[in-house]
């Protein structure tokens, strides 16, 4: 794998971690949402990561055709919905209340979400550090020409 291919591996992680942060912030934003387009309260979502073969441009494939691909990128394999039943709160005046006067609220623990968000941010920073290291190597190679 050439050095530019390594950037793709780290780049895939940036993409995946950003998507994870998006989902987490969506969970936090909708912690009190009782009304969704699908009906019922908002349901907490979680991302599942999986490995991914790095994408290569056609130009890159020509030069890497004989090379074995060892490095693996990452991608969001799927987004799962937390199956925990919604929280019932007694609010008879609420427009979304059922016949008994209970309103279904999403089960979202802000601490858990914040921890998840911090983890995503740290992983993002780590991958940015990896990109910077690879960039340093590419710049050093270009230095031979000088």
């Amino acid at each position: 794998m050439n050095l530019f291919g390594i950037l793709d591996v780290s780049g895939s992680a940036l993409d995946a971690e950003r998507q994870r942060a998006e989902i987490v912030t969506s969970n936090l934003a909708n912690a009190e949402t009782t009304h969704t387009a699908q009906g019922g309260p908002y349901q907490r979502q979680l991302v599942v990561f999986g490995t991914r073969k790095p994408k290569l441009s056609l130009f890159g494939q020509v030069f890497n055709g004989s090379h074995k691909q060892n490095a693996q990128g990452v991608r969001v394999e799927r987004i799962v919905v937390d199956p925990t039943p919604p929280l019932q709160r007694f609010e008879p005046s609420h427009p979304d209340a059922d016949k008994q006067g209970y309103v279904s609220y999403p089960v979202i623990n802000p601490i858990e979400e914040m921890a998840n968000l911090m983890e995503a941010a740290r992983a993002y920073q780590l991958n940015v550090a990896a990109i910077q290291a690879t960039k340093g190597m590419i710049t050093a190679s270009l230095d031979i020409l000088r």
Partner: protein, 118 residues
Amino acid sequence: MSWMETPLLQRMERFLDMASVRQSLVSSNIANVDTPGYRTRDIDFEKEMQRAFAAPDSPPEPNVREIHGLIERPDGNNVSIDRETMLLAQTQLQFQTGIALLKSEFKRLTTAITEGKS
């Protein structure tokens, strides 16, 4: 071997190749720090260099293996951030050392070409 291919140049080429293979694996490990079931992968740098030097004309493909003895998390992932960041810095410095040596070797050849005038 032509005069342009000094033993040092050939060895430095292998060295830089190996450093980029390692960089790709370290980046891959870092990218998959949160992937369930992912196992840390790396090469044995010294062993691979020895293998490459033993067969300078047809260098073998580096042997990528899983690293054992790392602490595994409940999701089956055993990437250690400390190990990877350390290797990231190390590989980068190794690469820069290789480039510096390569440059000095080219300079030496240039000196020979210009009869030591520049």
